[in-house]
């Protein structure tokens, strides 16, 4: 490759080629046989590598799942109503006998094996039992599936069909091809960790690693990649949004736009991409940001609805007022943010996240109990402000609402923070973003 062509080609593949470069590269490809050959060869090698990375079995599994999704509609609809008798399949034994090697080499569709495992584990069950009798967690081949307690699912032929509730699924990289269905769409998994939730009206997928191909029943398709989620109905828009799990953190702020903007300004100066938005709009955040400052409104219910399930959520709780949102009793008389003269110290961790900052933050090992009045049995202390341990610490607690990010920083915007307070906020932000990125890199 000539230097010019290589430069243009790299920019094209990185999607950063400008209009002039685009025209120049197109001219080279059109007129220079050597350049054209190299461009095509590079594309082909990359495609072959991607093709090669997906195992043959995985491809067959995914194709089988899509066939099932577009196949017997009547049976699929019936499957969503467990009280209705569903027709059992009688052909699998015969087919296994006809092609015994096929049962191990090809028909190892994860869903099929799940079906088989289910039937073997409860021989009296017909395989299409009501979901309540199904296990809540399955580890099978490359797929690990954990169902929420209220998840309703069934195994229809070779497809795992989820009619309501949520599940989390991990598939080892390079072993994609696993597929799931809801009443709205098929989710083809390409080696990933993701979560699916569905009810009668909506299906949603949030991808943590890898990617998931959504094929809605009307044929609309979308590739949801890591860091994005998509919530959709049967006929509404099929558009990905920023995955709430991918947000480095959300700074909780109780309806004080001026203070929130001040927070935003400070954190922007630290180099973070900050978005200030209504907390009821968290599902429609259009692009990747580091930090989100949601403004609570009278119609907000995102931050205090305890009925939405339990997930592990690291919370850096810098303000007692946030405790109320989290269901924690605590003294709210003082605001440590006004305390001057704090100094940041990190005595029992090898983290270097606070380099260059001043203030006081003491990071502790996990698994220490909370000592608030109403301790949460699943919570863990991750970090605390040393001089005010009873009012400021990071905890790992069950998530109280589905719209929360995985990382959460609470601050009190009522008080004007002192320089030390700002230092603590900035350090906390850096710490949480760092934790998030460490989690991502794993």
């Amino acid at each position: 490759m000539t230097p010019e062509f290589e430069s243009l080609w790299l920019a094209y593949r990185a999607d950063v080629l400008d209009a002039a470069g685009d025209r120049r590269l197109a001219e080279l490809i059109a007129t220079d046989a050597g350049a054209r050959k190299q461009a095509l060869a590079d594309l082909e090698i990359e495609a072959l590598l991607r093709t090669s990375a997906i195992t043959d079995d995985a491809f067959v599994r995914a194709t089988r799942a899509r066939l099932a999704a577009h196949g017997d509609t009547a049976r699929f609809v019936a499957s969503l109503h467990p009280q209705l008798p569903a027709r059992r399949r009688h052909g699998s034994t015969r087919r296994a006998r006809r092609w015994p090697w096929l049962t191990t080499a090809v028909v190892v569709a994860a869903a099929a094996l799940i079906a088989l495992a289910m039937r073997l584990s409860s021989p009296a069950a017909p395989g299409l039992d009501p979901a309540s009798s199904h296990p809540r967690s399955i580890t099978l081949g490359p797929a690990q599936i954990t169902f929420d307690d209220d998840c309703q699912y069934q195994l229809i032929d070779d497809a795992l069909v989820v009619s309501s509730g949520g599940l989390t699924c991990s598939v080892e990289p390079g072993h994609g091809g696993f597929a799931l269905r809801t009443s709205h769409a098929t989710f083809a998994v390409l080696g990933t960790r993701f979560r699916i939730e569905t009810d009668a009206h909506t299906s949603a997928v949030a991808v943590e690693h890898g990617s998931v191909r959504v094929t809605r029943n009307d044929g609309a398709r979308l590739l949801v990649e890591a860091g994005l989620h998509c919530s959709f109905t049967q006929d509404g828009p099929l558009i990905p949004s920023l995955n709430r799990e991918a947000c480095a953190l959300i700074i909780g702020s109780a309806s004080k736009p001026a203070s929130s903007n001040q927070l935003g300004a400070v954190l922007r100066r630290d180099g973070w991409q900050v978005l200030i938005t209504n907390d009821t709009d968290l599902d429609t955040i259009p692009s990747a940001v580091d930090l989100i400052i949601p403004l609570q409104t009278a119609r907000s219910s995102r931050l205090d609805d305890p009925s939405q399930g339990w997930h592990q959520l690291p919370v850096l709780n810098l303000d007692p007022s946030v405790n109320r949102w989290l269901g924690i009793s605590a003294d709210r008389d003082d605001d440590y943010l006004d305390d001057p003269g704090g100094a940041i110290a990190v005595p029992d961790t090898d983290a270097t996240w606070f380099a260059g900052l001043t203030g006081t933050v003491q990071v502790q090992s996990a698994n220490r109990p909370l000592y608030w009045a109403d301790p949460l049995p699943k919570a863990q202390i991750l970090a605390r402000v040393a001089e005010h341990p009873q009012r400021a610490c990071a905890i790992l607690k069950p998530r109280s609402h589905t719209q929360a990010p995985r990382l959460f920083l609470g601050v009190n915007p009522v008080a004007e923070p002192s320089p030390a307070g700002w230092a603590i906020i900035r350090a906390a932000a850096a710490w949480l973003v760092s934790e998030h990125r460490r989690h991502e890199s794993r």
Binding site: I45, R50, S52
Partner: protein, 183 residues
Amino acid sequence: MDDCQLITDAQGGDTDAFCELVARHQGPIRAYLAALVFEPESVFDLAQDVFLTAHNKLADFDATRDLGAWLRGIARTTALAHNRAAARRTRREHTAAQLALALAAEREQAPDERLTALHGCLRQLAHNRPEVLHLLEQRYTHETALSALARELSIAEGALRVRLLRARQILRHCIDTRIAAEP
């Protein structure tokens, strides 16, 4: 069992028979598509589309004909339609359009043996250039994001893109050499 019998069974509604046909023909079809589309990440989906189209039209297919040739025909139509749509929607429309034209003109036939040669070259890299193989595996097998991979290697993303380009060039040279050496 030969393709003909499987096709007959599949035409009778036997999904397992059709999936066996998928298992037999997916490798060549994916390799064929890999040479026909200029969005490498689309190959998996397009190959599935090919087999779904084939499944829908299977009732009209003469079981005594060459299934592979029929599937390649569907794949070619699918890929060209995809390339046209992709060229329309990309912001780099001039380059994309030229690539679509070039692919259509120069890749009438995609040798399946390139996929076989690729596997041989990857084994060769494991012995000769493990660092190159690691890079390719991280990016294409484990689908590690460029940003994460760059952090792991402590290099800029731009430098990583250059390294990946070099790695693909090494691989391409190996594949070409292997194919040229075959009788």
